[in-house]
């Protein structure tokens, strides 16, 4: 650790972070890092410790052991430096009564120490980014869920932080609002911001994030690129090569037993019969699959459909976690 702080090369660095609530260990020796300009999806079942970790990073909570660093500054000992570099969007909305959207943004701009034209520019930039010009004067308490999330995102980025932590940003949003939020997050990534996003909508998280960390019972189960996570939890390695395996589903006409016996003789993995479908794993190689299909047809099996099953982050998540809440 340089200068007694974080290494400085990573935008976010979590080092053996531990937090207890009474007898419950919310976060247990958690360690991972997020590189500058990268989006890391933070996933785990309810009560896994995601929000606790994010709150410690946002300098709202203190760890019992370990530390977290933002741009090399300790969240425990140098919260002032961290706060300047970090924007946190919690799952709670946090609206004020009798305050309009523009007043709300103006207030947070002032709170971050922005003055005069600098503040006006920051509010304008956020209004542009979130497309909220038409609702500037609306009270913050009377907004739709989608608009609230936009306002929250605007508040989070009012001081133009380099690191953004978004806790469940897409929770409760309709499909249109979700797509708009995704677009905004993608724009933030193109601006070079570092993002740590927790979400339960894993398909979208897989699209937005280059890397994913899975946490359960406060323990880190896995961290890596989406492909690495998929390979780790949904894929299997072929025994005779370094290739991955992929699951294939075959729909057939006629008797099932001969086809099943034929496939069993080939010693395919995960072979199972589901109604008029047969599922099995073969080498994840297009040529290999084409030869395999040709072989089936050559043997007079009446195949009506042959498809590879897409591996998803949901599947990886389900396999990685047990879903027990602490």
């Amino acid at each position: 650790m340089a200068n007694g702080n974080g290494t400085g090369s990573a935008a976010i660095e979590i080092d053996r972070l531990t937090k207890w609530f009474g007898s419950t260990c919310a976060v247990n020796e958690l360690s991972f890092s997020v590189r500058k300009g990268e989006a890391l999806g933070f996933i785990g079942p309810n009560g896994a410790g995601k929000t606790t970790t994010m709150r410690i990073l946002a300098t709202l909570d203190e760890p019992d052991l370990g530390d977290a660093f933002v741009d090399g500054f300790s969240c425990t000992n140098d919260p002032d430096s961290v706060r300047k570099r970090l924007g946190f969007m919690p799952d709670a909305y946090g609206a004020y009564h009798n305050v309009s959207c523009v007043e709300y943004l103006d207030f947070f701009a002032r709170s971050y120490g922005l003055k005069g034209r600098e503040r006006t520019r920051a509010v304008n930039r956020v209004l542009d980014f979130t497309h909220m010009h038409h609702m500037m004067d609306k009270p913050t308490t009377g907004l739709s869920k989608g608009m609230k999330q936009r306002l929250c995102l605007g508040r989070t980025m009012i001081h133009d932080p380099q690191v953004l932590i978004l806790d469940e940003p897409a929770a409760g949003l309709d499909p249109r609002a979700r797509i708009e939020l995704k677009e905004m997050i993608n724009r933030l990534l193109t601006e070079g911001k570092t993002l740590l996003i927790s979400s339960h909508i894993l398909t979208e998280l897989a699209e937005m994030c280059s890397r994913v960390a899975i946490i359960e019972h406060g323990n880190l189960l896995a961290v890596g690129s989406v492909q690495e996570i998929l390979n780790k939890f949904t894929g299997e390695m072929a025994s005779d090569s370094e290739d991955n395996l992929t699951t294939v589903i075959v729909r057939f006409l006629g008797e099932s037993q001969p086809l099943f016996d034929f496939l069993a003789a080939k010693e395919l993995r995960n072979l199972r019969l589901i109604g008029d479908l047969i599922e099995f794993a073969i080498r994840d190689d297009e040529n290999w699959r084409a030869d395999f299909l040709a072989d089936l047809i050559r043997n007079k099996f009446r195949i009506s459909a042959f498809a590879t099953k897409e591996r998803s982050l949901e599947e990886a998540f389900m396999r990685a976690t047990q879903g027990r809440v602490q």
């Binding site: 709202l60 090399g72 947070f108 002032r110 003055k115 005069g116 509010v123 304008n124 209004l127």
Partner: protein
């Protein structure tokens, strides 16, 4: 940019909050707002739009108008000459309602709502400090006071014209009203910062409302009495004592509220400890001042000070000795390196051990110091030096009080250490319970031991002396110190026994506390030092208009609007 986007952007730039300040007044107000607390700006905007403010202001105006008409009609239609005194009493009753009830309660609710709506966490991760948050709320309350006062000014002026009151009376009453309202607001903020659990919130609402209602009635009674009977009887020492006590308590309330909402790793103790020291100083100086004006001898007031300080510092000390035991790296960076630095500044730093040592130092320093210096006071005050026996009894009483206070703080400290091993981070209510339990336990133990001792030495429980002993071991000494001043051999035994008990327990606590004291200073990382230097260097941001620029622009605007004759 398409047409609709351009249109929207144009509308945005025309918004009052986002457009360039126009004209001198606009620029000045923007300049002031930029330098004011963001919370003050936000809360003022919110208050102006709130129904609560609108109705309170309306009722205030209506009440003032109604009272004025009543006064006029009384004199015109019924021929009764209404004096300014009666009118002014009415106006102060009207004004005291928002200032003593509405404003403190609004400040309290405003802070409590920050917890309820989860907005405090959003504000606390900005550059705004806890001090900024609390002072912003206080500033907003002060601004509301100004608005309500402005509404009542015509009424007050009217009552002055009716005669019967002078300007000094009006201004001193207004000063008392504003000061008490600010004090109650700090109390509201303190209670608002503590009550996080639901039952505590309900309790806090009830306690605050009862206090505010009581203070409102007290103030109204005071105003009526002051204006009706005059203020000649109120001595200036009394006024000094009231104002300084009020000021010291308000500071303590504010510092405690700030500490309650601060980040865990921050230094949340030093300012509270300094505020306690200031309050102690105010109490001592106030009592001495009153005693001086009453030409009282030192041995007449020293027992009072000893008893008062011992109990006050014992309760504060118990709270300090049960602080959160973990000392953050951030706090450790502030630990002094030198022996003298550690001895003075080190005691003000957070931690139960340092809190224990600080409170014990304060207890013994004040009580013993004052009792030792009493002969000097008598000489300075032109009094006869006290008799040695009298002085000894008073001194012994002071030491016994300090002994009791130290015993209590020591017990609370040890209890705190024990509880922290079972519960790493107990709720604040546990801390409060611990302080109360420790007090009761110290009291019971000291009484039981004293009775046992008396029994062992063949004491008589039928006498008043032993009855006093059964309630509190200090009382017999207190009675003797105040009235009799003749010490019995038994008193020395009580004193010696308690002193021994305190020494044993105190030594044990001291060894435990020293482990905290010997913590070395933590180094500040270079990047943090660089950042701190940068922060100090930046006085104004690049785009910010400085005062000089503001007035330069004003001069330019003025010159362009009024060309000089030469230019003509």
């Amino acid at each position: 940019m398409n047409e609709s986007a351009r249109q929207m952007s144009h509308e945005t730039s025309q918004h009052p909050l986002l457009r360039e300040p126009n004209g001198l007044l606009d620029r000045c107000s923007t300049w002031i707002a930029d330098r004011s607390s963001p919370l003050l700006v936000k809360e003022t905007r919110g208050a102006i739009k709130s129904r609560q403010f609108f109705y309170t202001f309306l009722v205030l105006l209506l009440a003032m108008v109604a009272w004025s008409f009543l006064g006029i009609s009384n004199s015109i239609f019924y021929g009764n000459a209404t004096s300014g005194v009666e009118q002014l009493i009415g106006y102060f009753w009207v004004l005291a309602f928002p200032l003593h009830i509405i404003i403190p309660f609004t400040a309290f609710r405003s802070l409590m709502r920050e917890f309820e709506d989860d907005t405090l966490q959003l504000v606390s991760i900005t550059s705004l400090s806890s001090r900024g948050i609390i002072f912003g709320k206080l500033g907003s309350a002060a601004l509301q006071m100004v608005v309500y006062l402005a509404a009542l000014v015509p009424g007050i002026a009217f009552s002055y014209l009716l005669r019967g009151v002078d300007l000094i009376q009006i201004f001193s009453l207004l000063a008392v009203l504003i000061a008490s309202s600010l004090g109650l607001t700090t109390l509201g903020l303190l209670i608002g910062s503590v009550g996080r659990q639901l039952f505590l919130r309900i309790f806090a609402h009830l306690v605050l409302l009862a206090t505010l209602a009581g203070s409102f009635l007290l103030f109204c009674t005071f105003v009526s009495g002051y204006l009706t009977f005059g203020a000649n009887e109120i001595p200036w020492e009394g006024i000094y004592l009231t104002i300084s006590l009020f000021f010291a308590i308000s500071i303590l309330c504010l510092e405690t509220a700030i500490s309650c909402i601060s980040f865990y790793a921050e230094n949340r103790s030093t300012n509270v400890r300094l505020a306690i020291s200031f309050l102690t100083f105010v109490i001592v100086s106030g009592v001495i001042l009153v005693a001086t004006s009453a030409q009282a001898s030192s041995i007449d007031f020293c027992p009072t000070i000893s008893g008062l300080l011992a109990h006050l510092l014992a309760v504060f000390g118990a709270m300090m000795a049960t602080e959160y035991p973990v000392i953050s790296q951030r706090v450790r960076r502030g630990i002094p390196n030198t022996f003298w630095g550690e001895s003075v500044w080190g005691l003000l730093l957070p931690g139960p051990g340092r809190g224990y040592l600080f409170s014990v130092t304060l207890i013994w320093g004040w009580i013993v110091g004052l009792n030792l210096l009493t002969p000097l006071y008598d000489r300075w005050n032109g009094q006869a030096m006290p008799d040695l026996d009298d002085w000894l009894s008073v001194f012994l009483f002071g030491v016994t009080n300090a002994t009791f206070a130290t015993l209590y703080v020591s017990l609370a400290y040890l209890f705190g250490r024990f509880v922290k091993t079972k519960m790493p981070r107990p709720a604040p209510i546990f801390g409060l319970l611990l302080v109360i339990i420790s007090y009761v336990l110290t009291w019971v133990v000291s009484v039981v031991l004293a009775i046992m001792l008396a029994e062992f030495l063949g004491g008589d429980f039928g006498s008043t002396r032993e009855l006093g002993l059964a309630t509190f071991f200090c009382w017999p000494l207190a009675l003797e110190a105040t009235f009799d001043r003749s010490l019995l051999p038994m008193d020395y035994v009580y004193f010696g026994f308690n002193f021994l008990m305190m020494m044993v327990l105190g030594l044990f606590c001291l060894i435990s506390a020293l482990r905290e004291i010997i913590l070395p200073q933590a180094m500040v990382p270079q990047r943090v030092l660089d950042e701190q230097k940068k922060r100090k260097r930046v006085v104004a941001t690049q785009d910010e208009e400085t005062v000089e620029e503001l007035f330069r622009n004003r001069a330019t605007t003025s010159a362009s609007q009024h060309p000089t004759s030469g230019e003509k």
